[in-house]
Symmetry: C2
Subunit: 134 residues, 2 copies
């Protein structure tokens, strides 16, 4: 799906769901939390402020529709949104559905424990549900 | 400075630096990391997608100028941006300067260890430096 250069680790850690206006949307392969990632399809960008103003606005719009879909599909208690990039420098935005009592609640998901891969069929059903709600 | 209702914990954990278009800008009282917080001055909002489209665009613009100023003042290796809200539900956006080898690098800052208060004079000097670069 991607023709832009995608970091190896981002590629390995999830599956692509869709290519929307600016970003590729991916689902992390970690069933502990419904966890989506938006990656602007632009080369050599690691900070949000390195995007053009138009791209920043597009990114905001896409975060908004993805977060709204994730809330609708999961009925999460809280959506967590983050752009960290301390390990993977290619700009990517995490959008995660959190629930009271989930692993590491109320702490952050990053760096906590070990990913638990989705069963392939469940991952595809979940991804399809997100796609329907975009 | 604030006339909008500000969560008690946000109030306790930092000092106000400025009121910009949409948000109040605060500096967390934790010298381990230069750590700023933007709080949209709107009541009863906990998710970014609950803001109006115009407010979302304003927030993006304000994140951009604050992150740019923080990068300039600190020459950080990476700026971390996050809207979590698992503990404090009032919508607030963290903008944090990270450096390789800082406490908990490359992990996230949230929930890690104990805050180390700034000496008051240093905190004020730092806040003034940010303000000059907005």
């Amino acid at each position: 799906m991607a023709t832009f250069p995608l970091d190896e680790r981002l590629q390995r850690d999830g599956i692509p769901i869709a290519s929307i206006g600016l970003c590729q949307l991916r689902l992390m392969n970690d069933r502990r939390w419904p966890w989506l990632i938006l990656i602007p399809q632009r080369p050599d960008v690691s900070e949000i402020f390195e995007l053009t103003p138009l791209d920043q606005t597009m990114l905001t719009f896409e975060i908004n529709i993805v977060a709204t879909a994730l809330k609708k599909v999961t009925d999460a208690d809280k959506i967590n949104i983050g752009a960290l990039g301390n390990i993977v420098r290619q700009l990517h935005v995490h959008i995660i559905a959190r629930r009271e009592g989930d692993p590491n609640w109320p702490g952050p998901v990053w760096g906590f424990g070990k990913a638990e891969p989705w069963p392939t069929d469940e991952q595809q059903v979940f991804a399809a549900g997100i796609l329907e709600n975009l």
